[in-house]
Symmetry: C2
Subunit: 509 residues, 2 copies
């Protein structure tokens, strides 16, 4: 082993400070969305902007570039899997992206995100797209200016995608989502009609919030929530954040008349939290100590929410716990009732309320529209019409107003274009990982039914979480599953479960 050059220590110090600033930013976000008094909101924007300015200054410091230049010849002779070699690669990526974007544009993007969200909130409350159109136009214009900072891409949408799913391209995504859509539409057609919403059954309660909280905590502590290192709080828009090793914070919301939100929502956020909790301490104060992509992040939350949480063995384990903590839960519910209930397919206008099958059609729709907007094929004013047409085409539903149509999501107001596809990528990856898990852990069903989650957690930690950002998503997936990203495992998983749960008739194919 050749001695590490002295520049490496300086690089580690800079990496640690960048990492700390990112985690402090996470804390500001958590605080704002859980405990901050309402009147503190205005100043919080200033605090967050200041942290961004400070972090951007440090990330674009020419001295960082000099350190990277000085270290690259050394790295070329090292094991390519070594932490420091990967650190150089990822810091190089962050540095090169940051220096291309002028500070003034970065500030405009940040300001437009805050203003765009405010305009979106107003427009959605009034269910009036016309109040949002200017903000969206502005976001698109800023995205184009952002794209222009970069070179060497095939499609402008690639630049946007890359911020959320490094290396993903439009050329890869288009056939993937096309194939997914082609598999889902006939599956949906096989279902003679929508099943009942689970909220109509045992989940509808009404369940007191305190009962829901106890049920959720019991389930969470069962799957691996450690009260010494985790928190569960209430937030209007649930999320998960790791502030530091030993400080993982997940959030949920409670609806008296619908326990599905708190139940599957906390399992979802638990999956996100477990991913970040599983990143090893040695990477914690480094840009390597973060999730590699939103798609991989979502694969972890979907795996716990859907693949595990809606499985028959998990239903068998969870049912007595739900019955114990929720007095309004019908005593006669069987495991089959629960299993079938949480797997019904029910077309809805709202993405976040949709089931596993139709969810991805909501993503296909957004991807199509985002591409058309970025390519200039679709004018902002035509967007509501295009939205309603696509909902009818994909789901057979009519959109009564913009609030439950084109205005339902915050993302575009916040400038998050290229983000939606990562939700479906997460679904696909979760199914691929699950096939590998079933191979490696043949007893997994029996373990889940007995509430033995340690083998699954251990597998995920070793195969996925422990890498942090060291392996890009395709490399990670290939090492774990031997496969490229693919649609078929997800369709197979879905068809199998829907059939097993009795939602889909096992018709001759």
């Amino acid at each position: 082993v050749s001695a590490a050059p002295p520049e490496l220590t300086a690089l580690h110090e800079r990496a640690a400070i960048l990492s700390d600033l990112g985690h402090i930013h996470s804390l500001l976000f958590w605080d704002q969305n859980t405990v901050m008094p309402p009147d503190g909101a205005r100043a919080r924007g200033d605090h967050a902007a200041t942290l961004e300015v400070v972090a951007h200054e440090r990330l674009t410091d020419p001295e960082l570039g000099r350190l990277l230049d000085a270290l690259e010849p050394w790295a070329a002779g090292q094991d390519p899997d070594a932490d420091d070699v990967r650190l150089l690669r990822e810091l190089r990526r962050d540095f090169e992206k940051a220096v291309r974007v002028p500070t003034s544009l970065a500030a405009e993007l940040s300001r437009a995100a805050a203003l765009g969200q405010a305009d979106w909130q107003e427009a959605r409350a009034a269910s009036d797209f016309s109040r949002f159109r200017d903000a969206l136009e502005r976001q698109l214009e800023l995205r184009h200016r952002y794209v222009e900072c970069f070179t060497g891409f095939e499609h402008p949408y690639d630049v946007l995608l890359d911020d959320f799913e490094p290396g993903m391209t439009t050329a890869m995504l288009r056939p993937l989502l096309g194939e997914l859509c082609d598999g889902l539409v006939p599956l949906l057609a096989e279902l003679a009609e929508d099943g009942p919403k689970p909220v109509g059954g045992a989940f509808g309660g009404p369940h007191e919030v305190e009962h829901q909280r106890r049920a959720v905590m019991d389930i969470l502590e069962g799957v691996g929530f450690d009260p010494d290192g985790w928190r569960l709080d209430i937030a209007p828009h649930p999320f998960a954040q790791r502030i530091a090793p030993g400080d993982v914070r997940i959030t949920t919301r409670y609806d008296m008349h619908d326990f599905t939100g708190a139940y599957f929502g906390t399992l979802h956020e638990f999956g996100h939290g477990l991913y970040e909790a599983g990143i090893p301490d040695r990477l914690a104060r480094s840009p390597l100590g973060t999730p590699v992509s939103l798609g991989v992040h979502e694969s972890q939350s979907r795996l716990w929410e859907n693949v595990v949480g809606r499985s028959r063995p998990f239903c068998a384990w969870a049912l007595p716990r739900l019955q114990q903590h929720l007095p309004a839960w019908p005593a006669a519910t069987t495991v089959d009732d629960l299993y079938r209930g949480v797997n019904t397919v029910h077309r809805t206008l709202i993405r976040v309320e949709s089931d596993e099958t139709t969810y991805n059609l909501h993503i296909v729709l957004r991807f199509e529209l985002e591409l058309a907007l970025i390519e200039g094929q679709l004018a902002v004013d035509e967007l509501p019409h295009a939205w309603n047409e696509a909902i009818h085409r994909l789901l057979g539903l009519d959109v009564p107003d913009d609030a439950v149509g084109v205005l339902q999501d915050v993302h575009w107001g916040a400038g998050l274009i290229g983000y939606f596809p990562t939700y479906s990528l997460g679904n696909l990856m979760a199914a691929q990982l699950w096939e590998a898990i079933r191979t490696d852990l043949p007893e997994i069903d029996a373990q889940l039914e007995r509430g033995e989650f340690a083998p699954l957690r251990g597998w995920l930690r070793e195969r996925v979480h422990s890498h942090g950002r060291k392996l890009r998503a395709p490399e990670l997936l290939h090492r774990v599953t031997g496969q490229e990203l693919a649609v078929e495992p997800f369709l197979r998983y879905l068809r199998e479960k829907l059939t097993d749960a009795g939602v889909l008739r096992a018709a001759p194919r």
Copy 2:
């Protein structure tokens, strides 16, 4: 009005960022002491250190010095009370102090504070001073190195004082605390014997924590706690922090068998919070938007805790509220009982449990010992003996062990030498302010008894809070009271109240 030079805008931007970083630091502190999962502690130290490094870099940036130099000729022609003129003066002060301290020493001071607190905790738990002596020796050595960074002072202790009470000197403090001691010792001698501890009476309960919380919230909302802009949380060592305008956070702790801690503790922290809440929005993102000194800060907390909170009219207003929320509160308690109970004098070994009269003797003792340590008159190994001797001389008590003696406070372990005197300065100022308040608000007693706190809040905001850091403490006190800092008003206030409450016999003098 001459046009402001362009450098002023740049200075404002830098001031805003420095101010934001300070407030973010406050949020990290609040979070760590209230809601952070225990396992997050180690990383929180890194996050706080990173913020300090970033803030220190910006505060010592030579460009800041150039801006200050460029603006001073302009400021010389402006109204000396103008915000920008005061901003220049205070930023100049912060800049000059920061650049004198090498970054390496600043880092050592910060690290020693964390380590010293840990050593102190261990030593106190074992009641063994010998486990703390090395840490204290190290703190003293670092203080001497810190003092050596500066020039032009009369006494090395002045340099330490100046960090907590700008402009205060040993030469001013020595006669002031001497006079205070000379007034308190005979007052104490007049009390034939100690009164009962209030904890033995109605405050002893036992009172359930939830009942205490409700009582405290009712009292707090009565005096001016606004739930849209304030929070009350539990912390092991209570404190108050303003994170931003509209975001004031106070903390307390609950003891089933002693309601005095939660009751007077929250009034104390409310006073701190109200000070910071009263700093005007236009100063919020500026170094001017902070309290001017710890002494003035403490004057506000002591005013609400002691001068208001232990007054007869306040007791009359609060009593029915306490009776309403605390089922274990004796129904027969009269206002006189409460008034006398919260004003008994009871010598105790512990500073934070002591009454208004003996409290200041605890400070005199610490001031004497700190001076002797800094002057080299007292060796660290002699400190426990010197402590015990002084406690006997000033309070007539014997110290059974170090835990309730020299090891009782965290301050020295954290390197906070020169801090204790500000507690007594706060007591003196509170009494001086109260004399001015009684003159300006002749109806104050009747208002307090009716629960009309707005006139008092308005007076404090206008006369004290609204200046932020624009007026140094002596200037502030002089503008408001027409006086210099003095001992007599406090002694007058104390003697008058103790006589009125029947604690001190109205003996012929």
